[in-house]
Symmetry: C2
Subunit: 135 residues, 2 copies
């Protein structure tokens, strides 16, 4: 497989990381996500890492990259499903994932994204309600 599927979920995009990431796959994912954010007008990116036993500096950098690009395109990045052991390892490695928001599961991640945008079943696009509420 050379592409990780990106699912559109309302105004968010959902990616589930299930396989070992390598350079090419990570680059392809970053490109695909960037294109999808623009083409769908997504306001958030959810990245599920519940299948990952370990998050090394490579994955950490990829997550940071995705978050940085998404932010420029006005989309929040939320990492969901992190295992306890992964969280401990990240801290021990000194990787704090500073640019990335986290949530325990997809539902909470969606709630996080919907906090700043009018996400949901109403299709109200950009109606100027950008409150910057405690970002």
């Amino acid at each position: 497989m050379d592409r990780i599927p990106i699912l559109k979920l309302g105004k968010a995009l959902l990616v589930t990381i299930q396989v070992d990431m390598h350079d090419q796959l990570a680059t392809a994912l970053e490109e695909d996500l960037t294109n999808m954010i623009v083409s769908t007008g997504a306001r958030g990116v959810l990245i599920d890492i519940s299948a990952l036993d370990i998050v090394d500096s490579f994955i950490g950098r990829m997550l940071d990259n995705i978050a940085a690009v998404s932010r420029i395109l006005d989309a929040d990045t939320v990492v969901v499903g992190m295992r306890p052991a992964v969280a401990i390892t990240l801290v021990e490695l000194g990787l704090s994932l500073g640019g990335v928001k986290t949530a325990l599961d997809v539902d909470r991640g969606m709630a996080l994204i919907s906090q700043r945008t009018s996400f949901g079943h109403t299709d109200a696009d950009d109606d100027g309600d950008e409150e910057d509420a405690g970002d």
Copy 2:
């Protein structure tokens, strides 16, 4: 990897098939899904196969199995993201996925599931509205 992650999404469960399925993985997925339906009270199962180039009889049978077990546990199974070539191959192979509902993408699949249950942001459980609307 020996488990495919299952994401809870409101009252639905979402599975993204990204890797080659083999016997053990398929069995584990069926078991995990069954347990998750019961433990979360999910009313629907969304299976995304947009990453699959080909769906053979093994995958077809797995999807049928999941649908059959889910139905007994009162959950709909919706396969989403099927590629055009996969659809053509399925018909040519005589695999019509009779027991499985399909939708073009996750959003439409969620809509399909929400048609028969009070899915959404209200947490109204079983309030007796089982209309059997043209199932």
